[in-house]
Symmetry: C2
Subunit: 391 residues, 2 copies
């Protein structure tokens, strides 16, 4: 037999599009010995997790739980539970994850009405208004709050109003926004929302917090066709998380421990403080990058503090830079995805990764690597970041 | 804000139908800081995991990976990838999990041909032969190798031969068998097989090892309709695990660390040794239970060593006994599921939970609790178990 040695992955600072670094308290919690998935002690952990998820999602939604899969499983859960074959769904696409939603809508046998916007820009409410006026009855409109492929923050309130006027459900992807920027599920009248644990919550990947409004639950109750996924059937999942405690599948115990601890950390810091922290470090990072002559992808008013997309300067080798960051400094940043492949880097400042030391180290490292590649533009990234922090 | 305290679940000995106790080395490994899901160090961990899964599954199948969900996600992955609307699938049902397969087959828009057998007994090859002769062309036959609801070990070789003669794919649920009893994927000509991490592999729940034969892959390639699940699309998952390393979803890093360590433990012990250990402790447990006058559910030749189903004696309160085991001894055993609810207990001896100390403690505890409830039958469970160990 081949000798498989102890796991010993390299030391990393995770500043890509996720996963982010995980707080030592969360790592430690995962090493807690297991109890069963129907153990009274575990049911209490589920109850507390649900309460904390409601706080983070800013919702009173009864059906607020963590799906036993990553953020993409949450996306699929929301769409397969709400859509039936033949339904129409408006899907707003201004990046990679909008496209994924459209793909899933098609697999539901539903018809996606695509509303395209340029990658790196927002979806304009006026465009939404036109589409909704054109197509008549539509089951839902789905939109990405924080596009992980571009770094765009999509304003939601006005679009929500239009969707409600059209009598449709409002579905939001909050994978990269939750716990990094405000996500006001009830105030913005969101009917179904999903996220991942590995971005601004800084828990390892593996679970997907979701929340459904009463209107969304009513739509599920009124379905005439079966939900095509057994694993993601929200009616069955709801009765495991609810009073009935009806066994569905064996819950991921250790990951549930981790999420509980990560949510505690979020609430101990406080949502407002957490949002402020993300803004602060992003501002300093952007000041540093721009001082180095780099150009941000997204206009200032729509930039996500937790995901900073920056164009790769001409003549610079994308892969070489990222390899050097990883091998010489242990820093992971993200390459471009889809249309931005080879054109942009994605620098994450998510949750536990979002800190002053990480900003400073990345700027120092990137400056050095760019210089080695012959990059000539003004290079005072760290000074600019220092000034931004002093302001 | 409510004060959420440190996680501090009760001390448990997990002797139910899963999850089983997790080895301290696996728990410790989960506390390893994260690397990214496309990090070269993580890709190496995936490669090694795939190699170890092939050893455990006793297969050379290229498409052998861990799905990012629990065992039930593996079940769904296998069925949604192989079935198209209108297909016929024979589903053998002799317990709860056979019924779940039929449910998923229906959600695929396929037609399940149900072959029922009494709960607690095996599915007879003759019955399979009859069904296959009756219905003509069928896409696959699905069967549970180790029924977690009853404790039955289903012999597979003869049925496999019949399925092949009928030109169908052979699909096997190995959730509770893998790493507890022999699972010879290639020798038994299994086309698609799935398991969970939380049973005899003794890793926390959250991943599902699956393996597909070349014939099964060919069927997926020939599909004319899209796979209804994006999250479980094996073509896309295959290209993330394969040479291409094409990003699909963010892999559950910490759970992948855990599975790697758990598989190392399985292979360090050796499959044959591991199977012998499960047999040994089950024999002692059964000797003890029978000496106490309890009756096993399954005939000796078809009993699973890792899941021992025993009838609850008349006049004994199921829930009271299990509550006392949990509160006075920290021991979890399983209640009956489905038709066996209130009628049988399920005592797991899986992976790290399968040990002499656990057998002895459980017998001592159960004897005591039954006596407190007025149970009068002969009670020399521990003596019988001691004798069984000495043989």
């Amino acid at each position: 037999m081949k000798n498989y040695t102890d796991l010993n992955p390299g030391k990393r600072i995770l500043m890509g599009p996720g996963p982010s670094d995980v707080h030592p308290r969360v790592l430690k919690t995962m090493a807690t010995p297991l109890v069963g998935h129907l153990d009274p002690d575990f049911l209490e952990i589920m109850n507390e997790t649900r309460e904390m998820l409601r706080e983070v999602y800013q919702t009173k939604n009864e059906l607020t739980i963590a799906i036993s899969g990553t953020g993409s499983a949450g996306m699929e859960a929301v769409l397969v539970n709400l859509l039936e074959p033949g339904d129409k769904a408006v899907v707003c696409i201004n990046g990679y994850f909008g496209e994924r939603m459209a793909d899933i809508v098609r697999r539901c046998g539903a018809e996606p009405i695509i509303l395209n916007a340029e990658w790196g820009t927002i979806v304009e409410p006026d465009e939404v208004k036109k589409v909704l006026a054109d197509i008549g009855k539509v089951k839902l409109l789905a939109i990405v709050h924080a596009e992980t492929s571009t770094g765009v923050r999509q304003p939601l309130e006005e679009i929500s109003r239009l969707v409600k006027e059209a009598g449709a459900l409002f579905v939001v992807d909050a994978v990269t926004s939750l716990a990094g920027i405000p996500v006001e599920t009830d105030k913005w009248q969101i009917d179904a929302i999903y996220s991942g644990t590995q971005k601004c919550i800084s828990c390892p990947p593996g679970l997907s917090p979701v929340s459904f409004s009463e209107a969304a639950r009513e739509v599920m109750t009124q379905r005439t066709t079966p939900i095509q996924s057994w694993y993601l059937d929200m009616k069955m999942l709801g009765s495991y998380w609810g009073q009935e405690r009806f066994y569905h599948h064996t819950a991921p115990i250790s990951m549930s421990y981790a999420l509980h601890e990560a949510l505690r950390l979020v609430l101990e810091e406080g949502l407002e403080e957490r949002f402020k922290r993300h803004k602060l470090h992003s501002k300093a990072l952007v000041a540093g990058l721009e001082a180095m002559g780099l150009e941000m992808v997204v206009a200032p008013e729509y930039r996500l503090p937790e995901l900073n997309s920056v164009y790769i300067p001409e003549g610079i080798d994308d892969v070489k830079v990222r390899k050097a960051l990883l091998s010489d400094y242990g820093i992971e940043i993200g390459g471009g995805l889809g249309k931005f492949k080879g054109k942009a880097w994605r620098i994450g400042l998510m949750g536990y990764s979002c800190s002053r030391d990480n900003v400073m180290l990345l700027l120092a490292a990137l400056e050095n690597i760019l210089q080695e590649q012959g990059y000539k533009a003004a290079q005072h990234g760290i000074i600019a970041a220092q000034q931004a922090y002093r302001k």
